[in-house]
């Protein structure tokens, strides 16, 4: 009697639990889909539609089909901003990634003492406010009294006009980006290095392979997936650059450092060309979408799980 009553009670609870069990996961994930739908999906669709209109936010929108895109293609400032953004991306790929990779190998070395201290120092830029540090760099880049020009000034040479020269201003932005992102990329490479089996290096050192040889024939090939992953991250974040040129140079001199997002911000907010700016956003989206597909492929999301 008692046994069966207990069993029945357990069953009832189990089936009640089962009902709950079916609905619970939907309740748990719903906040994301509600917020995503309202604040991201809907605005994205609005942006796509708006990119076909001419609208200043006040008067009635006027349908212009693809004329915004046509204008965009022939706009010299956009071409400049796209070129600048590409330069930032390429500089990050070709300069920051190799530095970060070598740095990770050095930081991972067993003969390095106090490596935690050095690691912490390299990672501080990752957490430092971009606005704060950009203002610091602005002082360091000053033509007449900036620290970066100090050697030239002491030697009596012509100081570099870092923020006023079209080419040097780009270099100034790239140095700042490098300063900010090297530590972050080093973190990824360090994580990757830890997954390389120690035996490979032992075997190589028995064979008498030099450190450089080990770097090129073990470390880099083994890190290939991480290098790809980091390259995509670098491309994605380069495309979205805004803070650095906005504060350091305001996009100048004469748009020489303006990024695509700055262009979008300026056209959309300062000039209130909302439809046109939406077209810029859509082009950005298409670029990021393609890069993200590559990234997802790498993550293995399209592979069947379990």
């Amino acid at each position: 009697m008692i046994q069966s009553a207990l069993a029945r009670g357990r069953e009832a609870r189990a089936s009640g639990g089962l009902h709950q069990h079916k609905l619970a996961p939907y309740a748990f994930i719903s906040p994301f889909y509600v917020l995503f739908g309202f604040f991201f999906m809907a605005p994205s669709l609005i942006a796509l539609v708006l990119s076909l209109f001419r609208w200043d936010g006040i008067n009635d929108p006027r349908f212009v089909l693809t004329r915004n895109y046509g204008r965009l293609v022939s706009d010299k400032v956009f071409a400049q901003a796209a070129t600048n953004t590409a330069i930032y991306a390429i500089a990050s790929l070709l300069i920051v990634i190799p530095i970060a990779l070598v740095l990770a190998v050095l930081l991972n070395s067993k003969s390095l003492r106090f490596s935690n201290v050095w690691r912490a120092m390299y990672f501080t830029p990752v957490v430092t406010s971009t606005v704060a540090i950009t203002l610091v760099f602005q002082i360091l880049y000053n033509r007449d009294t900036g620290f970066l020009n100090a050697p030239l000034i002491y030697l009596g040479l012509e100081p570099i006009y870092w923020l006023g020269d079209r080419s040097w201003a780009k270099v100034a932005i790239i140095i700042l980006i490098a300063w900010r992102s090297t530590g972050l990329l080093t973190i990824y490479f360090l994580a990757g290095l830890q997954s390389i089996p120690e035996e490979l290096y032992e075997a190589a050192s028995i064979d008498g392979a030099s450190a450089l040889r080990r770097l090129f024939s073990i470390t880099i090939p083994m890190l290939r997936p991480i290098i790809l992953f980091v390259s995509i991250i670098v491309l994605l974040s380069s495309i979205q650059i805004f803070d650095e040129p906005q504060i350091l140079t305001g996009g100048g001199p004469a748009n020489a450092t303006m990024s695509v997002v700055q262009y979008l911000y300026e056209r959309g907010f300062t000039r209130l060309r909302l439809g046109f700016a939406s077209a810029v956003g859509t082009v950005l989206f298409a670029t990021v979408f393609i890069l993200s597909l590559l990234q997802l492929q790498w993550y293995g999301v399209f592979r069947k799980e379990d």
Partner: protein, 280 residues
């Protein structure tokens, strides 16, 4: 050359390279803090290591009394703090569902989740702003909190952590009659504290340092954030009178607490950044 000497030399070279790079990296931060004790004229005097004529907290005093800096600070703290609390709750809940339940349409919902990370924030910058003005959230704290409460990245991160929790623990709690939410609150949450800490740091930091969104939606000292406020210190002044000394004090007060926090919680921070990178 004696191989042992060669070995020694390479170790010395390693240290020289690593340490000089590390010093170069922190130099701008040291410069920032050092400059915060100088007058603007002294900041622009070479060499930069010359000490100020008089060590003083004057820049900090001016910053706290003549500028609405305390407001900016409190605003930033509130936005970052509140958004972090919501992110921890919503992301761990959804991460739990994706890690431990089988339900209909799970795969497609997960693909939508991951796919959402493909939308660059810049695409929606303008329409989201239009939306904010339509629902009267321009200049309202909600614009800094509500849209950012359940980021897909956080859900993905929590899912990775929760997958590692043994499912048997859930089952035995369920047999004891615990509701699904209680299983989440009393079984899962205590076991994924490291994951929650990681997510908390990343979220707080992201909100604290964000610039373009608060720059757009917030106006007026009662609502703006620290980075926006500091940027206005420069843009409001005429070129000859930019208060660099006070700006360096402000920059130090934004960065230094976060850097200390980071050094203390480094382990969590790094595990959060690399969780996607190592798997795969």
């Amino acid at each position: 050359m004696d191989p042992r000497i060669a070995q020694r030399l390479s170790v010395v070279a390693l240290h020289v390279v690593v340490i000089s790079g590390a010093l170069l990296t922190v130099a701008p931060i040291v410069f920032m803090i050092y400059s915060s004790f100088k007058t603007t004229t002294e900041i622009f005097t070479l060499p930069p290591w010359l000490p100020p004529a008089e060590w003083s907290f004057k820049n900090y005093e001016i910053l706290l009394t003549n500028w609405p800096f305390p407001y900016w600070y409190i605003n930033s703290l509130i936005y970052a703090g509140v958004v972090t609390v919501f992110v921890l709750f919503f992301c761990s809940l959804a991460g739990f569902a994706f890690a431990k339940y089988q339900f209909r349409a799970k795969n497609i919902l997960f693909i939508i989740l991951i796919g959402s990370t493909m939308i660059p924030f810049q695409l929606i910058l303008i329409p989201l702003f239009i939306l904010m003005s339509r629902i009267d959230w321009v200049n309202h704290p909600a614009s800094m909190i509500v849209p950012w409460m359940a980021p897909a990245f956080g859900i993905f991160l929590m899912r990775q952590y929760i997958q590692a929790v043994p499912t048997e623990l859930m089952e035995s709690a369920r047999i004891d009659g615990a509701s699904e939410f209680r299983i989440y609150a009393q079984v899962i949450v205590p076991l994924v504290r490291p994951g929650l800490t990681t997510l908390a740091i990343l979220t707080f930091l992201g909100s604290w340092n964000s610039y373009i969104w608060p720059l757009m939606v917030l106006r007026g000292n009662e609502v703006i954030t620290l980075p926006v406020g500091i940027a206005t210190m420069r843009s409001q002044a005429t070129a000859a009178q930019i208060p660099y000394g006070e700006m360096m004090a402000a920059a130090s007060m934004v960065s230094v607490p976060v850097i200390i926090l980071f050094v203390a919680l480094q382990r969590y921070f790094i595990s959060g950044l690399t969780i996607g990178a190592v798997k795969g």
